[in-house]
């Protein structure tokens, strides 16, 4: 049963532009150690380690080889998912559900300051057809936003509202990377990165590590002060080429959400979910995610965003941590969503904290313009 799985330890590092004083291994060790401490266990209890990282962002091929032991993997069964860290959590869950293991460390990192996110993500594109025309991660997201607006109308102001919301949440979070609140005017007058995306509509590049302890050991769960149960996991994939997709909808996110909702027995997500951490790699993307997650109808994202329901005092606060628009440790950003959602549910948030939260949704993705998506439903 999926609901046997519980997250009993959370180690979410601070996010900064450049963690100059620590090596990547030291950063990983710190977050891993704090996850173990928060679970109240030693490394001996761990029998599986699942990592999530990107070789090219790390600047080290097979980077788990150098870094696995910093994540507690010495003489453990260790495996690396070369995807966003949220997929590492999924694989760790499958390994526990299969009874191969009892307790797993899930660790994901990104030290964006060591390399260029723009250069690395440009290498995602097909070397013959799409790379030469200069497609980049932001260009792909901009094309997607344009397509959305061509069908559903202009959402520029609603998107700017998302930036204002998430940055104001981030302002309250002492471990967020960007900690200055911004107003609508500043967002709307920002430099254009790629139409319609402006400077503050896109996520920064940050350094950060997230480590979680995932277990199905009943003893550990009963001894845990604040276990967060996994109620549903879903993940799905869209085609690679932008031209093959209906860019106006995040269909693989929709599929992933439905899979997770089915397991968690969620029928009306807006009513049943208390808070969400969404992969807001751009402000437009968060609005499109509302629709794919079924929080509002297709095309209803603008109205939903402008209703204020996703603000701190709304019915379903989204990205209370500040989201990716405040901190973006890129290849770990999805696992950060899970970590931050856990901190909310256990009332351990370092920033804004809502009082009554039973069910949370965390969303992560990899690939440009939302090719691969994962959704985790968490509950206490």
């Amino acid at each position: 049963m999926i609901s046997d799985l519980a997250i009993t330890g959370v180690g979410v590092s601070d996010c900064v532009e450049k963690k100059g004083e620590l090596t990547l291994a030291e950063m990983i060790f710190g977050a891993t150690k704090s996850a173990l401490n928060s679970a109240g266990i030693d490394r001996d209890v761990i029998d599986s380690v699942v990592l999530g990282a990107s070789d090219l962002m790390d600047g080290i091929s097979i980077s788990s080889m150098v870094l696995a032991c910093a994540a507690g993997a010495y003489l453990k069964d260790e495996i690396k998912v070369a995807d966003d860290g949220i997929f590492a959590l999924i694989l760790a869950g499958l390994r526990l559900l299969s009874n191969e293991f009892k307790t797993s460390l899930v660790v994901s990192w990104c030290k964006s300051s060591q390399t260029s996110l723009d250069v690395v993500t440009r290498l995602n594109f097909d070397p013959c057809y799409t790379r030469p025309i200069g497609l980049s991660m932001w260009a792909a997201h901009a094309l997607q936003a344009c397509r959305y607006q061509a069908i559903y109308g202009n959402i520029e102001k609603a998107a700017a509202g998302i930036v204002v919301k998430n940055r104001s949440h981030g302002k309250a979070n002492p471990v967020a990377h960007l900690r200055a609140a911004v107003d609508m005017k500043t967002v709307l007058e920002g430099r254009t990165i790629c139409t319609p995306l402006k400077a503050l509509d896109i996520a920064p590049s940050s350094d950060g590590v997230c480590a979680l302890v995932l277990t199905r050991d009943r003893k550990l769960i009963s001894h845990s002060k604040q276990p967060v149960f996994v109620k549903g996991i879903g993940w799905s994939t869209s085609g690679y080429d932008l031209g093959d997709r209906d860019l106006s909808r995040l269909l693989s996110l929709h599929e992933a959400a439905n899979m997770a909702y089915r397991q968690a027995n969620i029928k009306k997500p807006f009513n049943e979910i208390d808070l969400a951490e969404i992969y807001d790699v751009t402000s437009y993307h968060e609005i499109m995610a509302y629709e794919a997650l079924g929080l509002c109808p297709w095309g209803g994202g603008r109205d939903f965003a402008e209703s204020g329901e996703t603000k701190y005092d709304g019915h379903l606060p989204v990205n209370l941590s500040g989201g990716l628009l405040s901190s973006n440790p890129w290849s770990a950003a999805g696992l950060f969503r899970v970590g931050e959602a856990c901190l909310q549910l256990t009332k351990s948030s370092r920033g804004l904290q809502i009082s009554k939260a039973k069910t949370a949704l965390a969303h992560g993705e990899s690939g440009f313009a939302g090719q691969k998506n994962a959704v985790i439903i968490l509950g206490v």
């Binding site: 999926i2 380690v49 788990s64 453990k76």
Partner: protein, 341 residues
């Protein structure tokens, strides 16, 4: 635990450079063959696991995304594993977990590597080392493999001839494998007089760099029995990570650096799960990942096919030969087709 079986296998012919296909096409070639051999269609696959090692080989970040449509991952759960040389093996472990977890009944596991896209594989493999302390020492996979070999020679008296015999065996086996990359026989003298890459490893002790893909279809017990009358069951699995630092592997009192301790430790787990007490007697055939002859030799010991330090004698007795009692790498092994296996 839920039983897991393998019900389909597909491989491409391994070559130095596949100029006629793109990476996604290569992935599809193996995947479609695996589907064909299982007799089920891609629509019947519940989830997909993709394996590929350093992105730098293909020169594309996250080749799994590039291959998503080609391997039929559209609208399906899909994730990528990258653990270096063990990628093919750990992708299979991930596929196993998908089914054993009870969440899926059929999984396609596909591993792809197109080393031919990179001008120099060892230059890329040099980037696996610690960027501050070790990368500048020109360490690569071959030089570190040679460190182990030297230690094996010192500890156990392994000879260059014994290593060469493994190469002779593998090349001979590859002659009968239409997928093998290197298809020529070599003599003991050929191996011993081939160019020294890093003593004691010579050109013919070392695997080639190949372009290729391999796919398997895994299924739950119920599904497997419907698909195949005699599926291959996965009885045991095990995986262990040792410390990265080569020098740190001297501090483990249980094993020496020359032992390649992970062989012993991972085998122990898999044997326990499979209920195997005497591997030498109970195992009929083995395919081991050994990019160098000395690592195949150490696997004989670590996997319990012979006693510690007796790998050399095991070779001399011809037990691992195709006509022997426990043939190892009847396909020709990694030595005749590298990396995606």
């Amino acid at each position: 635990m839920r039983q897991v079986a393998i019900v389909g296998v597909g491989q491409t012919k391994y070559v130095t450079k596949r100029k006629d296909v793109s990476v996604p096409e290569l992935a599809w070639e193996a995947s479609s063959q695996a589907l064909k051999s299982s007799g089920i269609s891609i629509d019947e696959i519940d989830a997909i696991v993709f394996g590929s090692a350093p992105d730098a080989f293909e020169g594309v970040n996250s080749p799994d995304l590039w291959c998503a449509t080609a391997v039929g991952a559209f609208k399906k759960p899909y994730l990528r594993i990258n653990t270096g040389g063990t990628t093919g093996g750990t992708a299979a472990l991930a596929g196993f977990s998908h089914i054993a977890s009870g969440m899926f009944d059929t999984v396609l596991v596909v591993a792809v590597q197109r080393v031919g896209e990179s001008p120099d594989a060892q230059r890329i493999l040099n980037t696996i080392w610690d960027p501050v302390y070790e990368k500048d020492l020109a360490l690569n996979i071959i030089t570190t493999g040679a460190f182990v070999a030297v230690r094996q020679m010192e500890l156990f008296g392994i000879t260059e001839e014994q290593l060469a015999k493994i190469s002779v065996k593998n090349h001979k086996n590859a002659m009968k494998n239409p997928y093998a990359h290197l298809q020529f026989e070599v003599t003991l003298e050929d191996v011993l007089t081939s160019r020294v890459l890093c003593w004691p490893l010579k050109l013919l002790d070392v695997c080639p760099r190949s372009d290729g893909a391999c796919a398997v279809i895994m299924a739950s017990e119920k599904k497997a029995r419907k698909i195949k009358s005699k599926p291959a069951w996965i009885l045991g699995v095990g995986s262990i990570t040792d410390t990265y630092g080569l020098g740190d592997r001297w501090v483990d009192p249980t094993f020496d650096f020359g032992d390649v301790a992970v062989h012993y430790r991972s085998a122990k787990k898999a044997y326990r799960m499979a209920g195997i007490n005497n591997p030498r007697k109970e195992i009929d055939v083995a395919e081991v990942y050994a990019p160098f002859t000395n690592l195949e030799l150490s696997s004989y010991e670590g996997l319990g096919f012979c006693d510690r330090g007796k790998g050399g004698e095991f070779v001399d007795q011809g037990i691992a030969d195709i006509t022997g009692d426990l043939p190892v790498n009847p396909s020709g092994g990694v030595q005749t087709a590298a990396l995606s296996r």
